[in-house]
């Protein structure tokens, strides 16, 4: 069928054949689901850190150490880190896709974005899992 159209309009621009990939569908879906999860995670985080029990004034090394002693808060912070990074990164990816005019600009901005995502995710994950409450200097 596309051949017939090609013959009818020989100089018409052709778009590359569909790659039959569902990546954009899943990334769209991920944005909705992670967004909902982040509402709970981030608002909960802000409430605990800033409002509950005297709020921000009680935060110190011991407080953080106490929270990360529990796997629940470790998982909370870990999922918040991963979801926020990937949600924000994916959002920026679409912004770059929308606004970058040149292919080269788009490519390098995305490389910058992905590198920063990987760096922050790995650094954050590393800290959460290797945090040593008995650290002495």
């Amino acid at each position: 069928m596309s051949n017939a159209l090609g013959l009818a309009k020989p100089r018409a621009p052709r778009r590359p054949a569909a790659r039959r990939s569902n990546f954009e569908l899943y990334s769209w879906l991920f944005m909705r689901i992670s967004g909902m999860a982040l509402v709970v995670l981030v608002l909960g985080h802000l409430f605990i850190m800033n409002v509950l029990d005297g709020g921000v004034h009680r935060i110190n090394f011991g407080f953080v150490a106490g929270r990360w002693a529990s796997p629940f808060w470790q998982m909370w912070d870990l999922s918040m880190l991963w979801l926020a990074q990937i949600h924000g990164g994916n959002g920026l990816r679409t912004v770059i896709n929308d606004y970058a005019r040149k292919d080269a600009t788009r490519f390098w901005l995305k490389i910058l974005l992905y590198v920063s995502m990987v760096l922050i995710i790995s650094l954050g994950t590393f800290v959460i899992f290797t945090f040593d409450p008995n650290i002495t200097d």
Binding site: A12, R15, A18, R20, S21, N22, E24, L25, N97, D98
Partner: protein
């Protein structure tokens, strides 16, 4: 020379003498974005003072310029009654058909002088003045296979359909391919390879047709990188559609069909 002969000569391209100003006419300024690729490096703005009635359409103003003031003004129009979809342009910053916008709806409040700006639709290459190259637009239209696909043996009578089944895609049958929606879409402005609202509307028309069997194929095409997932639901397309099609809703229905794998 009478007005009617003036119109006849002008129809062949030469400038006629200006017709008598009708009673009740107001003078409006029409600012048109002009671009002649042969002589100009940059587009420029031309202003014309035109006597017109409040009941005139913007297309009448353009005719006045073309027939009596500057015969080099170039724009498309065919039926002039909102059916053919030739004269889509950006009027006062929004995409409209020039033949469907009345001057009385554009007049400044309190009898202040009125200026109407007219630009070519955005996102498509300008050939001259208000005339744009529609080929990228039609290429996206063709790419979604906007025709009936049915693999079963041809019936001896017409393909029947219930009223409810027909209602399912009624809204998207109204499209006249004027490109108002696609060229009002910010994603299309920056990324010309996005299919654009009009192509998705025409895919929707067949995807949700109970007589059609090509839904899966079209959904595959629209799920791709440049497909429906680029839509940011800004509703520019719905606002722009001169036929009142709920374009953004149609795009959302295609997304839902993809998400739940159900038409």
């Amino acid at each position: 020379m009478t007005a009617s002969t003036a119109e006849q000569t002008s129809a062949s391209g030469s400038k006629g003498s200006e017709p008598p100003v009708p009673e009740g006419a107001i003078t409006v300024t029409v600012k048109i974005r002009r671009f002649n690729t042969e002589f100009d490096d940059e587009p420029r703005w031309d202003s014309f003072e035109i006597p017109a009635l409040p009941s005139d359409r913007v297309l009448n103003l353009l005719h006045y310029v073309k027939w009596y003031l500057d015969g080099t003004l170039t724009f498309r129009r065919s039926c002039a009654h909102g059916i053919c979809g030739s004269d889509a342009m950006r009027i006062n910053g929004v995409n409209r058909l020039a033949c469907k916008v009345l001057l009385k709806d554009l007049l400044s409040a309190g009898g202040k002088p009125t200026t109407i700006t007219i630009e070519p639709i955005k996102g498509l290459p300008v050939h001259k003045d208000l005339l744009v190259d529609m080929e990228p637009f039609f290429e996206a239209f063709r790419a979604v296979q906007p025709y009936l696909i049915n693999y079963s043996p041809e019936p001896t009578r017409e393909r029947l359909q219930s009223a409810a089944d027909r209602e399912r895609f009624d809204d998207t049958t109204k499209c006249i391919l004027c490109a108002c929606c696609t060229t009002s879409c910010p994603v299309y402005w920056s990324d010309g390879s996005y299919f654009g609202p009009a192509a998705i509307v025409n895919a929707h028309r067949f995807i949700f047709d109970s007589r059609d069997e090509g839904a899966e194929e079209r959904l595959d095409i629209l799920s791709d990188k440049e497909g429906v997932w680029r839509c940011r639901t800004t509703f520019n397309c719905t606002d722009a559609c001169p036929r009142g099609i709920q374009v953004t809703k149609a795009i959302q229905e295609v997304k839902r069909a993809l998400l739940f794998k159900r038409v």
